[in-house]
């Protein structure tokens, strides 16, 4: 399941989507929106994506994880639009025979997604809003 959605991500559904009787391990990463950034209170967040390219890259990343870590199944779901504090903006799930591979593949996927996949986060503060990314 590779998906970009504008509603709440159903985490249980994402996990179920990587279920496999030959898998012994599932690692799941959930990115959630924080109430603080750069020392200031964040009121809410908004995500924007270049959808066709982001979907394509997420598919390619999933394929790369399959090849490199003998992944049984991988799902990546990113939410766009407004996301309230504490809600999931991204969910990545990876199933493998053994846990080491699940952790490594999941870590690779979120690290690479954050570095390269064309999605942007706008943080709304009491005194204005700012696109994250350049400062980091």
């Amino acid at each position: 399941m590779i998906n970009i959605v504008s509603e709440t991500i159903d985490i249980a559904e994402v996990i179920a989507s990587v279920g496999d009787p030959s898998a012994g391990a599932i690692d799941i990463f959930v990115g959630t929106t924080r109430n603080h950034s750069s020392g200031k209170e964040v009121l809410s967040l908004e995500y924007q994506a270049y959808e066709p390219m982001a979907s394509k890259m997420m598919e390619e990343l999933g394929e790369e994880a399959r090849r490199r870590w003998h992944v049984k199944a991988v799902s990546i779901v990113h939410r766009i639009g407004r996301v309230d504090i504490g809600e999931a903006s991204v969910v990545i799930a990876v199933s493998t025979a053994h846990r080491k591979e699940a952790f490594e593949a999941c870590r690779f996927l979120i690290d690479t997604l954050k570095k390269n996949v064309p999605i942007w986060k706008k943080e709304l503060f009491a005194d204005g809003e700012v696109w994250a990314g350049l400062q980091e």
Binding site: Y47, Y50, M53, A54, H78, S89, V117, P118, W120
Partner: protein, 82 residues
């Protein structure tokens, strides 16, 4: 001249005030040139140039990548998904 579509995102979209622009540029233009053409019209883009990656048809390309008629480009400011 060739015609390319340029998709705009995040801070760059806010500066241009539009999700995309259709640009007419000389044959043989590279992706760096596309940014210059837009920056001529929107001077605030100049300070962004060193931070922008360019994608052509949904693939990142280098700044000397030659664009073709009907290509879909995207200016990619530093990403912050996840």
């Amino acid at each position: 001249m060739i015609s390319v579509k340029v998709k705009l995102f995040a801070a760059v979209r806010d500066i241009v005030g539009s999700e995309e622009k259709i640009l007419l540029v000389p044959n043989g233009s590279d992706s760096g040139k596309i940014i210059d053409v837009l920056a001529a019209e929107y001077p605030q883009l100049r300070r962004w140039k060193p931070h922008l990656r360019v994608a052509v048809n949904c693939e990142y390309v280098s700044s000397d990548h030659i664009v073709h008629d009907q290509d879909e480009l995207a200016l990619i400011p530093p990403v912050s998904g996840g």
